[in-house]
Structure formats: structure tokens, C-alpha cells
Symmetry: C2
Subunit: 567 residues, 2 copies
């Protein structure tokens, strides 16, 4: 049992049969064909040589197969994390060689962090990101990613990781546009966007089954890669200014150590935390969504271990930070992957492709990869969250707006950190002002209702308050402030009764606060009482000396309290 918990692969390897094998093999073929251009493109996006994308696609898939809890999550380079890698490393001013080592180091740090969080079962920290913040961040990142690719699409050189950095740079150099590059990029983009919607129906008309046509449409980027590479080679487009990938080293990735320089670790620490958070949140969302469709489940802490191991593994073989991607996992799922072995086979296929085809990449135009990236991130841009959030709640709207604006203007790291912060602050703000109602008895019943909304009976010497929130540090001061204000308005008051029906928890700040309130009221000759205290809260109060200090009593019901205290 313990071994299975650590190595989820053991749960499916025993029952593995020929049928699963054939399903997994088919999925692996489709996924690996789709992954090859994507991996090259995302390495480019991260500011790395394209072959590193292939390297980062092999080991993570193998390692995740053993440690991951999702049956269909496909782990490798993803767009947003590649952009974040570029943002983290770009500001350090490194030489090309140091940049590679820094990328591997970042992958190691991200992996170690995720692994440790998983080991200590701290997966819940991913919950600190609210859905609107994640959606806003992904949208803004996708826009940034699209802009970073414009220079590659036009054959110009511009730079930056935020809109204020990129726009002036783009405007300055746009006149240098290389026409052959731009034309080829435009054709590639047209093909990619058209093939998404138009290719599958066309293939169905030629007799292909609907699912086969949909799969075939998914691999349209490979067609673009092959055709533009042939065109660049045949028409010698390099001579006309079309930038190509150029010579890349052949062979599989070789072992290499990430750096353990304290200075580098210190400067990458913040980025590693943010990249790890985003990678984990994206992976778990995708894995959970897909698992639920098959009545399966995933274990978030095991996912942390799987992703952590995948990142650490790739950091020793020329990789950069990876995660479970949405589009690649969906393709894997739709292609019918039965077990994680599909990922294992895909890794093998990519390794074979790396050995065989890397020399052919020399003539692959960078514009093709840029177009692949733009087409991939285009579907991530989703502004519908803004009107939805506006209608639903101002707090969520603020969080998503801050995230989008700051990501675009100040970059991915500040954007995501601000998003998390705003979510937390907004949540604390809301719970720091709980709904508190002065209540009175509905005549002829034992029910108590808000005096502002119902015709109820109250007594001048009793103040009955119902608090609709757990009491904890963020709202104790508000409670004190409100209670003292109410007491100051009621000169004949003798008893305050706190009705605790909705108090699920009392922390020590709240306990200290109630003790303080009890003392202050006692000095004014007013007794404090509690009513309808829940079991766990009563247990906690009994572990302190509060009940000995309480000037009044604890009543089972509010009705009993009022009966005992009324004049």
C-alpha cells in the first residue's frame, strides 16, 4: 500500500493489457506529433535554443508517468511558464551559456519546491489563487506572449517582457520588416487558424471519421513546420533575410548539473516560487477536470510530487521549467490514452524524433514557430471574465482587473503576485466586516430575527447580537469597535448576549478580544453572555480560562437567555 501511494504507477502497471497498450500507443503517436513543433516553439519563447524544448519534453513525461496521479496529464514545456522563465532570466543580463545553466537551475528550484510541498502535503497553498486571478493572468500572459512573437513574425528585432517595454521597441523597428518573413508568417497563421475550424469538416467530407478528422486537424502545426522548412530550403529563403533555427547539436540531451551558486539561487528564488505556483495550479486544474470526466480522481499532493520530480529530472538534462499543459493533455485525453503509459510512449517517440530530425531543423524558419505560438495562445485570451466578474461581484472584478493590468504593464511576476495579494486582501476585507445583526424575539415564538427587518420584541436592558461569521483575527477589532459603539448608545444596558449560531470557529485573537470585551463591559456594570455556542467552539473555550472570567452565563438558546435576563 505504502509503495503504491508513493509510486502510483504500481496501481495500473499490473493490470496492463494489450488493449490498453494499443490505446496508449495511438494516443502517444498523436500527442508526440503535436508536441514536437510546440516544444521547439516554447523553448524559443523561453529564450532558449529550440532543441531544449525537445529535451524538456522527454524526461518529464517519463518521470511523471511513474509519480503522477493523473492518468492523462501530459507534462512538458507550456506557454505561460516559458514566458515566465524568459521574464525571470531575461532581467539577469546573462551570457548565452549562463542563461542555459540558469534555466536548468530554475527548473531544479521549481521542482525541488513542488516536491517538498508535496512531501509535506502542502498542496493547499495552490488554493491561494482565485479562479478570476488565474483566468486574468492567463489572458494577460497570452497577450504578452503574442506580442513577444511579433518580432519573429516580421523578421525585426525588438525586446521586452511588458507592454510598455515592447510597444515602443516594436514601433521603432516595424519599418525594418522583412517581407518574405512576414508573408510566410501570415500564410502560416492563416493555415493554423483556418485548420482549427475548417480542416476537420473538410476531412470528414473526404470520408474520414469525425474523431480521426479532429485528430488530424490537431497536427496541422506539423504540416506548417514541414512545408515552411521545405520552402525555406528549396527557395533559399535564408538568403532573403528569413531567420531560421540554424544548426543545432544532434543527439539526446546529456547529463549536466544545474548551478548551486547561492547568488543565482537568491536572484531566482522569487521567480521560482511564482513559476511553481502557476505550474501547479494549471496542472491540477487540467488534471482534476479531465479525471472528473471519467469518474477518476487525482491527489493534489501526489501531483506536486510528480511535477516536482519531473522538473528536477529535466534540470539535469538541459531542460527548463515544465508543467501539465491544457491543450496537450486534452489531446492525450481525446486520443484515448488509457494509462500514463501513453506519456511514456510519447516520450520515447519524441526521443527518437530528436535523434532523427534535429539536423533537419536547420532550415525551419523561426517565423513558423512564432506563428505556432501565437495560434496556441490565441485561444487562451478570454476577456469574458471581466463582464462576468463585474456582474457577479465587485471584489472579484477588482482582483481580475488588477491582475490583467499589472501583468500587461509590469510583467508576469508582478502581475501574478499582485493577483494573489489582491485576492487575499479582498477576502480578508470581506470577512473582516462580518454581518452582525441586532436580534429580537418574534412574538409568540422562540425565534430571533434581525430587528431591522422584522417586527420583534426587544428589552432595553438586553442587547442581543447575532454574528454571521467565524471569529478570527481579521474581524475581532471590527467586532470590538462595533460593540463598544452600540454600548455607548445604550445608557440603560445591563446585558450583552452574543448569539453564536454561525460562529464555526474562534481563534486566539478572538478569544483575547472577547475576554477584553468582557472586562471592559464589567467595568461599566454590563454582563456579557453567550448563547447557542457550537460544540467545537465550546470545547475550545473550555481549554482556556474564558468561562471562569465570563461575567455572565452561557445559555443553550437565545430564548433561555432573554427569559433569564429580561427585567
Amino acid at each position: 500500500m505504502a509503495a503504491r501511494q508513493w509510486l502510483p504507477a504500481l496501481t495500473w502497471i499490473r493490470g496492463y493489457d494489450r488493449r490498453s497498450l494499443s490505446e496508449d500507443l495511438l494516443a502517444a503517436v498523436i500527442v508526440s506529433i503535436m508536441l514536437i513543433p510546440q516544444s521547439l516553439a516554447y523553448a524559443l519563447l523561453a529564450g532558449l535554443p529550440p532543441e531544449m524544448g525537445l529535451y524538456a519534453s522527454i524526461l518529464p513525461l517519463l518521470v511523471y508517468t511513474l509519480f503522477g496521479s493523473s492518468r492523462v496529464l501530459s507534462v512538458g514545456p507550456v506557454a505561460v511558464m516559458s514566458l515566465m522563465t524568459a521574464a525571470a532570466l531575461g532581467s539577469l543580463g546573462l551570457s548565452a551559456e549562463d542563461y542555459l545553466v540558469a534555466a536548468m537551475t530554475l527548473a531544479f528550484m521549481v521542482g525541488a519546491l513542488l516536491f517538498l510541498l508535496g512531501l509535506f502535503k502542502l498542496g493547499f497553498v495552490a488554493n491561494f489563487m482565485s479562479h478570476p486571478v488565474v483566468t486574468g493572468f492567463i489572458t494577460a500572459s497570452a497577450i504578452l506572449i503574442a506580442f513577444t512573437q511579433v518580432p519573429n513574425l516580421l523578421g525585426i528585432s525588438a525586446h521586452g517582457h511588458t507592454l510598455p517595454e515592447m510597444l515602443p521597441s516594436l514601433l521603432e523597428t516595424v519599418t525594418d520588416t522583412n517581407l518574405p518573413t512576414a508573408v510566410m508568417a501570415a500564410l502560416t497563421l492563416l493555415w493554423l487558424f483556418w485548420s482549427r475550424k475548417g480542416l476537420a469538416p473538410l476531412l470528414v467530407k473526404t470520408g474520414l471519421s469525425a474523431s480521426a478528422a479532429s485528430m488530424a486537424a490537431r497536427v496541422s502545426p506539423v504540416v506548417a513546420v514541414v512545408l515552411t522548412t521545405l520552402a525555406a530550403w528549396g527557395l533559399d529563403l535564408g538568403a532573403q533575410g528569413v531567420a531560421t533555427v540554424g544548426d543545432v547539436p544532434t543527439g539526446l540531451p546529456v547529463f549536466g548539473l544545474p548551478s548551486f551558486s547561492p547568488a543565482l539561487w537568491q536572484s531566482l528564488a522569487g521567480s521560482a516560487v511564482l513559476i511553481a505556483t502557476i505550474g501547479f495550479v494549471e496542472s491540477v486544474s487540467v488534471a482534476q477536470g479531465l479525471a472528473a470526466r471519467r469518474r477518476e480522481r487525482i491527489d493534489p499532493d501526489q501531483e506536486l510530487i510528480g511535477l516536482g520530480a519531473a522538473n528536477m529530472a529535466t534540470s539535469f538534462f538541459g531542460g527548463f521549467p515544465v508543467a501539465g499543459g491544457f491543450s496537450r493533455s486534452v489531446v492525450n485525453f481525446d486520443a484515448g490514452a488509457a494509462t500514463p503509459a501513453a506519456g511514456f510512449f510519447a516520450a520515447l517517440l519524441i526521443a527518437v524524433a530528436t535523434l532523427l530530425f534535429v539536423p533537419l531543423l536547420a532550415h525551419l524558419p523561426k517565423a513558423t514557430l512564432a506563428a505556432t505560438i501565437v495560434a496556441a495562445v490565441w485561444s487562451l485570451i478570454d476577456f469574458s471574465i471581466l463582464p462576468r466578474a463585474w456582474r457577479f461581484s465587485r471584489a472579484d472584478f477588482q482582483a481580475v482587473t488588477v491582475t490583467i493590468v499589472l501583468t500587461l504593464l509590469a510583467g508576469v511576476e508582478i502581475g501574478v503576485a499582485s493577483g494573489i495579494l489582491v485576492s487575499l486582501v479582498v477576502h480578508l476585507y470581506k470577512t473582516s466586516r462580518p454581518h452582525v445583526a441586532v436580534v429580537g424575539e418574534v412574538p409568540g415564538t422562540e425565534h430571533f430575527r434581525n430587528v431591522a427587518r422584522h417586527q420583534v420584541q426587544t428589552h432595553e436592558n438586553i442587547l442581543s447580537l447575532r454574528i454571521d461569521e467565524s471569529l478570527y483575527f481579521a474581524n475581532t477589532r471590527y467586532l470590538e469597535d462595533m460593540l463598544y459603539a452600540m454600548v455607548a448608545e445604550r445608557p440603560r444596558l445591563q446585558h450583552v448576549v452574543l448569539m453564536c449560531t454561525a460562529v464555526n470557529e474562534v481563534d486566539m485573537s478572538a478569544l483575547d478580544s472577547v475576554i477584553e470585551i468582557n472586562e471592559r463591559l464589567q467595568e461599566l456594570g454590563i454582563k456579557l453572555h453567550l448563547s447557542e455556542v457550537k460544540g467545537p467552539v465550546m470545547d475550545a473555550l473550555q481549554r482556556s480560562d474564558f468561562l471562569q472570567k465570563l461575567s455572565g452565563q452561557v445559555f443553550l438558546t437565545q430564548h433561555q437567555a432573554v427569559e433569564a435576563l429580561k427585567p
Copy 2:
């Protein structure tokens, strides 16, 4: 009304009469006598020349009189903020002159921050610090402060702002102890500690009234200052190695600008945020506690404006960060201050004292001031929070332990920041795993109870879940995970009913999550229903398209739901 809101002084100035005047004057005399040695000592603690303590005691009192909402809060240098100032500036490696300017700049930044928070009514941010964290932080700071004074008490030189920095330095130099300094420090400490408990009863025996005796005992530090200064002068202790304050410039503080260098602001920004937080939390706690004793109230946002204005004002006249201190405010309260005018008069008296007595400070031994500090912070050390927190809740115990240990070992800034962080993480951890009960109907009633605790009736095709927490981003993933796990275990399930009696709020993350759950369940042929939804939650749901998407119904009561859905 608007003017009164901005300038609370207008509310009491009109009704000001002779009786208030005499009460305020008496309080002012007692407070200013107590404040003079304290101000000198805290300037020393902050690493500044002692006269700056006097400067920082004049303007803040005047300005707070106009803008503050508390009638008795006494604003000026306080121990913990002086230590934090020393920690913030000590690490910058500044020349003596730049150090002064940096202290003024820090006061300006703290003031501007507090003022802006008040203007935007963001006083609630102070709630992010839980009571145990504040208590732990104050205790650890007091220990650090006592250690920083040991060199002055023994006439040796040692340095550092954390225990690991100070202890080796102290052990190395302890053999250089100057005997006359140590003897005088010991006598002063004995006098200060004895006078707290022993002086008042003695004075009562000589015929003084109890309250007069208590007031007289409060000014015992002034007696120590006068006697040791006379001793140092008469016995020429300076020649025997007793360090004295030395010549200080006479006259009132003169106008000077804080620095607006971006580099300095950047390096002080984090410290300013932490100092402002601690200063505000301490001031509001003291002000709220004292106001409640007289059935008065304070306005936390107005306090921010008052404290902000006080800090900004002092930053232009040679001051450093100030706040409302506990001991000084209690003395003001006990001495019978009727209105903030007491603070105004105290400021005038300190100004006069500054003009007249500063030349006399030349012979004041630094050891006397150090003894005053140690005696003042001794009463802040309170480890009783540890066993109380241990008994009450492990979460609070963790927060307070982290705060104390990190403050002692890594300094005030890391200590307080970690304390805030741990409080937040612990709170989110708790609410991220809400109590969720599978419920069934108590036979013969319409009540639903936890199936694990009661004999209740359930149906194989219905899963009824009661969620005991508001649904928000921190717990949506947990809910999804648990729900999918339960669904995976129940092959005959047709209906899931979420009973929302304890759901006070649903944020957008939770909404998205419930929509996702609804879709996933629908794919499995399971309908999702809600029951007992509270009014505000229903309003929010109606602002979204959730109710159109919901595969099931919203039932008024859980009983109606089960009646409608049972086989």
C-alpha cells in the same frame, strides 16, 4: 459636520471649560515629566542623538491633538518602533549625518503611508496581525531591546540587532566592563524596579493620597536621571570611564527636509511598511482599550490620519517614527486627561524643558538611560502567551512560536513579516478544508443530520452534503476533490444536493467551481441541486448564468429536495 470629521479637535474645543483645563494641565505636567527621560532613552535606542527624542516628542503631540480621534492617546517615540528604526537604518552603513536624514525620511514614509491608508479608509489592513503574533512580537522585541542596552549598562561596546549577532559580541567584550558604570547601572535598575512596587506604599505611609503616590512613583525615572547626572558631575565619573550624553545642541528643533532620494526610499520601503503596521496596531489597541473604559469610541481610519500627520510633521523637524505608546497613554489616562489638550500642553512643557535643560544633559550617564529602557521594556515580556496558545489551538501556537523565534534570531523585520504570513497561511489552511457532512433525514422529522453521528435515513440515488463554510477560492478545490471522490464511490448516484445553510458567501471562484461540478456531473448523468440557499447568496447566483446552467433545481428546504428526488 465634514470639518468635524476631518478635524476631530473641533468636537471638543467648543465645550472646553476651566475644569477640563485644570484636569488637562495636571495630566500634562505628569506626562511630560515622565516623557523626558523616556524620549532621550528611545532616541538612544534608535541609534540617534538623545535630543532627537525630545524633538520627536513635541510636534507629534501637537499634531495628533488636532487630527486624532482618541482623547487620551499619547503619541511620541516608543520602544519597539525605536528598535525597528535602528534595525532598518543600522544595516544601511550610513554616516552619522546621513543616518539622521534617513531617520527623518523613514518617519516621513511611515507617516505618508499611514495618512494615505486613512484617507482611503483602509484601516482594516491592521487586522492582518493576530493577537498572538503581536504579543509574541512585542515580547521578542522587548528581549532584543534589553540585550541592546547591555553594552550601555556595562560600559562596553557590542553591536547587532539579533541574538546571534549580539551574544558573541557581548561575550567577547564583557571582560572590558567599566566598574563605576556597571555599579551605577545596577543601582539605577534597582531603584527603578523597586520604585514600581515599593515607592507608592511608602509615600502613602508618609501621608500622600493613594493616587498622588501612584503618580509620584511614575516619575521615578526622572529622579534617577537627576541623581545620576549630579553624581556624574560631582564625582567626575566621566574621568573614570562612565560614558555620558555629552554636549548637545541647545534650542528647539529647526526645519529640515527628509530625503527624497529614490534609492533611499527603495531601501527603506519594506521597513516603513512594517514600522507603520506595528505602530498603527499598537496605537489602535491602546486607544481602543482606553476609550472603551469611558464608553467613548475611536475611529481607526481617523487614527491613521492622526498618526500619519504626526509622523510627517516630525519628519520635518528632526524626528523619527512615532506612535501611540502604551505606558505613556495609560499615565495620561490615569492622570485624568479630559481632552486631547492634555497632549498639547505636554508638548509645550517638553518644548520648554528642551530649551532650558538640554545643556544640563551633558553629564547624564548613558547607563541611566539604558536602565530606563530596560525597566520600561521589562514589563512587555510576557511568555504566558505560549502555554495559553498551546492549550487553546495548535495553529495559534505555531504562529506565536514562529514570530518569537524568528524575531530573536533573524531580527524584528523578518520576525513580524513571518508572523503576519503564518497567521494568514494558517487561517487559509483552516478555511480551505471546511467541515462537510453527508446528511440524512431524522426519521419522522424534517431535520437533516450528519450520517456519521446520527441514525438517519438516506437514499442510494441521492447524496446530500452540508457545507459548513462560505465557499471561496481557498476551499473550492477541496470541495471539488471531495465531491468527485464521493461520486466515484457511489455507482447508483443520480442526484447530488448541496445544503447551503452555513454558506454565507459564494465568490466567483466558487461559482466557477460549482458550474464545473455541475457540468462534470451532468456528463455522468448526475443532477446537481441546491437547497436552503441564503438570500444574499441567491441574489449573487441570479446575477450569473449559473441557475440557467444548473442541471437540477434549487429547493427551499432539504426535506422538499429529498421528497422530490427519492426513488
